[in-house]
Amino acid sequence: MEQKLSKTEKKTAYILTLPAVCLVFAIILFPIFANIWISFKEVQLKDIRIPEPRAKEIVKTIPDEQNKIKIVYKLRNSSLLQEIRNVKFEDKFPDNFKPINLHERCNFKKNKVKCDFGNWPAKYRENFEIIFEIKDSAKIDKKDLKSSKPRLSGDSDNILLNTNFTLKNFKKVIFENEFIDLLLTTFYYTFFGTVGSIVFGILTAQMVNQKFYGRTFMRSVLLFPYVAPVVALAYTWELLLDPNSGTLNSLLVNFQILDTPINLLGQKYLDINILGFSFKLRLALTTVIIFEIWRYFPLAFLFILARLQAVPKDLYEAADVDGASPFQKFFKITLPQITAVISILFMIRFIWNFNKFEDVFLLTGGASGTRTLPINVYQQGFAISDIGMGSAVSIVIVLLLLLFMFFYFKLLGKRADEN
């Protein structure tokens, strides 16, 4: 009885999980492996369209011959690159139609014209004509004739399925594309974005953890940037930072903090002089990082606040009795209590920021020194139309991610051991 129950239990479990597993496998795991396949191929965006035989039907009347009608098919191969083999054609006509002098490639049976066009090379075009005689010379409805569309079929190679592999993409990714610069930009973006959002998360959580009027309202306001759609926020920021008519620049100029407006999103470097040390700040990258911090500190805030609210009150009371100062309380009690949350947050945010595409894409499109790895996937794959290269960059991302995840799960395991 027990055994039987556990057997049905197993069976039910598989039935219940199967749909979800299949879908996730098809849409998430399969593409990750497909990336490996594509990254070893030379594929352009234009190659991935499967060539199709196409036909456009034109009905023409023949002058002086009322009972005859000419139908012209404009045939073509949709691909400019690949041939189509074994093209088959089929079209249906009304009962009273009979073809005259039908081409030898075709035959007529049961009101249907079937043709065998053989192989079409790339860019192939042909005007194919059939003349029909109408038995009872009834009126011909052109629209009716056109509504029955011809059916065409043919075989062609799918460039993705052949077995020509090459290492060219990876060579290009690693040796040509300013790979080091790309990695560094991605790293700056990820690291400073993560650290910044956590620092502001700690500050705001500490703030909201005190009692004041309008605290619940404040908590939801702080989460606004995180829940609002990226598209709206990015364009609002773009408007805010615009050098010509942007609010921020106008404000700074108005209060005489700046002499001339600066293009915060379009300028790659800004020379800064502090106490005789001059260095170049990557301006656009910094702006994008600030946007990133603005948008994602709420997550850190929420996690840290939840943790802060769980810190036992008597710890602070005991510290008060000992006469500890607020700073001592913060560094000796609060900070140790939230280190676990911070380290997990750091890993999560690091991984997610590393993959962030939308924010940078919408703000700068990857221009003026903000090209990160995910942006590069898009640029290679869709702007330069080199699918193979895009996949190769994706593979680099996946490998780095696996490395980060290894550390993340090690950290999680360590935390679990400690508890």
Partner: protein, 397 residues
């Protein structure tokens, strides 16, 4: 000891007053008032004197009298002597001064003798300042989005600092950008598409995730632990590495530019989150209820529908809200998969609109308001559900 504390307190509090007034001045400038400078030194000196003298006067003078005296001097010096400014500006200043004065009430000479008084004061003022500053920094872009959508092209170019809304004009003129994007840019259709896609995603995700989450939470089967850890790993994988293979496959299958294609992808990407959240909740439901049901010869599906579902309405609704928000906000896949304006979602439509440099900014902002409002509304209205879900480590972003 006491003098040092007194000085530090006065400096901190006057900095606090200075920053409050500066924020007010920025806000005022954004309402179209011409202000050329912050008058920092004067505000600082006045604030310093007030805090400093306040310690000596203390209870000898009524708070209201003290405050009024201070406010009149301040308004006179800042508002009239230096730059002639309208009444409403000064009323705002008076409110800020009142806030400031009431905050300084609790500091007296006894407090300043306290060992950690300076640190306590710093903490207090930093918190207060932080609240004001963060509200400003966060709300300002949203405010700007809203106001810009009510403006005209010329008004935007003439004075980019004018953020007042002119309510005297016709309603038709006020909402002109909204009329335009609905009539000539087809936003009604995009809203419909976005709604269908988001609701569809919610529906399919729930159908797929509830059984799977139940199995992971309750049943014993081979590969269970593997499945629950791989959920976390999959959840970490970014959309950007899936894009190229999915693009090629979807192009060949003709699923690009179709709602069904988007539905498949959105469902798959939200499934791990949904399963992860739901199984956590299902585990917290007492097992005894199901054991009774098994004795009653109820099938597993019966158990899910008759026992689990009614008990987990809060968790399911929070998952549903999340999935809705993720699908509504999603941009990457809609950018890759949709290039026919007939099948655009709202986010994609706004991005498409911005691609044309000729598009007036106020139309863009009107579109942004339309895409943002439903999400913020859902968030504020259902905040309790959503926040508990967020801390469970859900929403991806």
């Amino acid at each position: 000891m006491k003098i040092k504390n007194l000085l530090i307190y006065s400096i901190i509090s006057s900095f606090f007053l200075l920053s409050l007034i500066s924020i007010w001045k920025i806000l005022v400038t954004l309402q179209g008032l011409k202000l050329e400078n912050f008058n920092t030194q004067i505000i600082f000196i006045l604030g310093f004197l007030f805090s400093f003298l306040n310690i000596f006067i203390q209870e000898r003078l009524n708070f209201i009298v003290k405050f009024l005296f201070f406010a009149i001097i301040f308004v006179f010096v800042d508002g009239f002597l230096i730059s002639k400014l309208p009444i409403w500006y000064n009323i705002g200043i008076v409110f800020i001064l009142y806030f400031f004065a009431s905050k300084t009430k609790k500091y007296n000479s006894k407090f300043l003798n306290n060992e950690h008084s300076t640190q306590l004061i710093l903490f207090d003022f930093l918190t207060l300042f932080g609240i004001v500053l963060f509200s400003f920094v966060i709300l300002f872009p949203f405010y700007m989005m809203l106001v810009t959508s009510f403006k005209t092209q010329i008004a935007l170019l003439v004075n980019p600092l004018d953020f007042s809304i002119d309510f005297n004009q016709d309603l038709k003129d006020l909402f002109k950008s909204y009329f335009v994007i609905f009539t000539s840019y087809n936003f009604g259709k995009y809203i419909l598409t976005s709604t269908i896609v988001s609701l569809g995603t919610v529906f399919i995700t729930l159908i797929f995730s509830i059984p799977a989450a139940y199995a992971i939470a309750r049943l014993n089967f081979f590969g269970k632990t593997f499945m629950s850890t791989s959920i976390l790993i999959i959840y970490m994988f970014p959309a950007i590495v899936l894009v190229i293979p999915l693009y090629t496959v979807f192009s060949q299958l003709g699923l690009r530019n179709s709602i069904s294609g988007l539905l498949i992808v959105y469902t798959a990407t939200t499934l791990p989150v949904a399963i992860y959240m739901l199984q956590g909740y299902f585990k917290s439901i007492p097992k005894e209820l199901e054991e009774a049901a098994i004795l009653d010869k109820l099938s597993w599906f019966g158990i899910i529908i008759k026992i689990i579902l009614p008990l987990s309405i809060p968790a399911i609704s929070s998952v549903a809200l999340y999935v809705f928000m993720i699908a509504w906000n999603e941009f990457l896949f809609s950018l890759m998969f949709l290039d026919n304006p007939n099948s655009f979602t709202l986010s994609r439509a706004i991005q498409y609109l911005s691609g044309d440099a000729e598009t007036p900014r106020q139309y863009l902002m009107a579109g942004s308001v339309i895409v943002t409002l439903p999400v913020l509304f859902i968030f504020v209205y259902f905040e309790k559900y959503l926040v508990s879900g967020l801390t469970a480590g859900s929403v991806k972003g």
